[in-house]
């Protein structure tokens, strides 16, 4: 059986301090190769200042069927949001 090497997910940081964002995937047999392949594939236009690579099978994704129990309960907790609060007229810098 042929091998195309293992699959890795690539996360790129566009500029220092920014969040790492999923860019796509590459194949590689080891960590060094994964980083280099991610570099050669996803920074061809100077897109990044830092790269994370993660073996695809190490990523755990939430199950869409659980969406109601996972995400619904946080929907009514609007007191977590600053706009929930009524501020006295004229108060500044708050």
């Amino acid at each position: 059986m042929d091998t195309q090497l293992g699959k890795w997910e690539v996360f790129m940081q566009a500029k220092p301090g920014a969040n790492y964002i999923h860019a796509g995937a590459i194949h590689a047999s080891d960590k060094k190769m994964a980083l280099q392949n991610a570099r050669d594939t996803y920074t061809r236009r100077g897109e990044g200042t830092s790269i994370w690579v993660v073996p695809t099978d190490a990523i755990v994704a939430s199950n869409p069927d659980d969406n109601d129990m996972f995400f619904d309960p946080s929907n009514d907790k609007t007191y977590r949001l600053p706009t929930f609060y009524v501020m006295p007229e004229g108060a500044k810098a708050i």
């Binding site: 194949h27 590689a28 392949n37 050669d40």
Partner: protein
């Protein structure tokens, strides 16, 4: 020989090495063992093309006869090229390409690290850019050499064969002539005698890490500096300069 003539030749040598490497690396496009490696080798080819542009443009300026980088790349014959023979050798299998990259990128990393301190500001600034590229090429080649040297029996056999086959072209990289001597006096050229032992030490170390043995006692080939090449260069230029030769008056 004036300093200007020597500098012209020096830039031409460096430019030709980049140009010929760019040609060989670009031949890997759509031929590499994985899609990812295809992109990597083309990245290196692009680095080399950019390097050739910078160095041949400067050569043309030093020469002062209005020649562009393209004039120098596409309108010179094989006896006028002064690249190292190692760079014009056919790609062979992937192990050969990795072995060459290991030898040459390590050399270039050391060479351009020195050239950054050249009294010639233009060369120093080109070197500052090139040295980063070479460091990456060297790392990439080293990692692959380790994988292939320690992989399967077949990959080890191929990697050893590649190192053995290319070894006889490595001595030439440290040859010097009157051009070097003149520019060394002006602190423009790199002292190749200084980088040779470092190169040898690093290569020995990398070959060891790859579980391979260093080639022994090979007679070293020579000729590139004098424009005496292996037969491969003529074919390369025939192909590369095809449109210039078939349509001498056309611009593309």
């Amino acid at each position: 020989m004036t300093e200007q003539q020597a500098l012209y030749k020096y830039c031409l040598r460096l430019g030709d090495n980049a140009l010929v490497q760019s040609y060989r690396l670009s031949e890997w496009c759509s031929n590499a063992p994985t899609l990812e490696e295809d992109l990597a080798l083309v990245n290196f080819a692009l680095d080399m093309t950019g390097r050739a542009q910078a160095l041949l443009t400067y050569a043309g300026e030093v020469d002062g006869n209005g020649k562009t980088d393209d004039d120098l790349a596409y309108r010179r014959g094989e006896r006028e090229f002064c690249n190292h023979l190692i760079n014009e050798q056919p790609n062979g299998d992937f192990a050969h390409t990795i072995a060459r990259l290991l030898f040459v990128a390590t050399y270039e990393y050391l060479f351009y690290s020195e050239l950054m301190r050249s009294a010639d500001e233009r060369l120093a600034s080109i070197a500052a850019k090139v040295v980063k590229e070479s460091r990456y090429h060297m790392t990439h080649a080293n990692d692959w050499a380790i994988r292939l040297g320690n992989g399967t029996d077949e990959s080890q056999r191929r990697m050893q064969a590649a190192i053995d086959a290319l070894w006889m072209f490595t001595g030439e990289m440290f040859e010097t002539d009157a051009v070097d001597a003149l520019l060394r006096d002006k602190n423009i050229a790199v002292d190749l005698g200084k980088i040779k032992p470092v190169w040898m030490e690093r290569i020995t170390e990398m070959v060891k890490m790859s579980g391979l043995s260093m080639p022994e006692g090979a007679y070293m080939q020579s000729g590139g500096l004098k424009g005496i090449h292996t037969e491969y260069l003529g074919h390369m230029l025939t192909e590369m300069q095809y449109l210039q030769r078939a349509y001498p008056d056309a611009a593309w």
